[in-house]
């Protein structure tokens, strides 16, 4: 596609439920990032995929968070047993590869509200 596509755009879920957020990166981009943006906060790194390498999961806040990337393209971020503090915008980004010279493009985000 022309840009990074994320779904759903908005999700309201009850505390304790599991949610899945999807990211479809720009075609041909091998690097894929997930960031979280809480109200009034900066973007917080969650996880990074580069090609077939093991993902960098160092930013995941707890073991309730996990992500996978199938076939080197689409990625799914899963949050289990959601808590109210998980309410945030989850942003996906992609770039051609992890080299510093490549522009990193963001999607419009998935707005998660846990009630």
């Amino acid at each position: 596609g022309a840009g990074v596509s994320q779904s759903p755009s908005n999700k309201v879920t009850e505390k304790g439920k599991d949610v899945e957020l999807r990211c479809d990166p720009i075609s041909g981009h091998t690097a894929l990032y997930w960031y979280r943006q809480s109200l009034g906060q900066g973007l917080e790194f969650l996880i990074y995929f580069q090609g077939n390498s093991a993902p960098d999961k160092s930013g995941l806040p707890s073991d309730r968070f996990s992500a996978e990337r199938t076939g080197g393209s689409v990625s799914t971020l899963t949050i289990q047993r959601t808590q109210q503090e998980d309410s945030a915008v989850y942003l996906c980004a992609s770039s051609r590869d992890r080299a510093a010279g490549n522009t990193i493009y963001f999607g419009e985000g998935s707005w998660l509200t846990v009630v």
Binding site: V4, L43, G101, F106, E108
Partner: protein
């Protein structure tokens, strides 16, 4: 520890009133610094990447500059449509990640 601080947090300008936004950083293995614009309810939109001290890039009313410890985003004769949050994000070559500041929210009044 990698740190990025943007100032001011909020800035109100009259249309045509030029100003600058600051981004101070301490990042290991800096391999570039990105500027993004973010409108409410939207994802960050790429503006510039700067790679070395002394480099400058321009786009319409915006000019970004870089030193070894800071980057500035200069806005010349802003218009109301320039109102947005501007995000600074150095790229760490050590970790392969963008490290974001809190952003500066700019409001330009007609």
């Amino acid at each position: 520890e990698d740190q990025v601080t943007q100032s001011p947090e909020a800035l109100r300008l009259q249309e045509g009133e030029s100003s600058s936004l600051n981004c101070s950083y301490t990042v290991s293995g800096l391999r570039g610094l990105f500027w993004y614009r973010q409108d409410p309810g939207k994802g960050p939109e790429f503006l510039f990447t700067l790679y070395s001290a002394g480099e400058e890039k321009e786009k319409e009313r915006l000019k970004a500059t870089l030193t070894k410890k800071e980057s500035f985003l200069h806005i010349t004769a802003p218009k109301p449509e320039d109102s947005a949050t501007y995000l600074c994000a150095p790229f760490s070559g050590n970790t392969g990640k963008l490290i974001f500041g809190q952003g500066t929210t700019l409001q330009v009044k007609p």
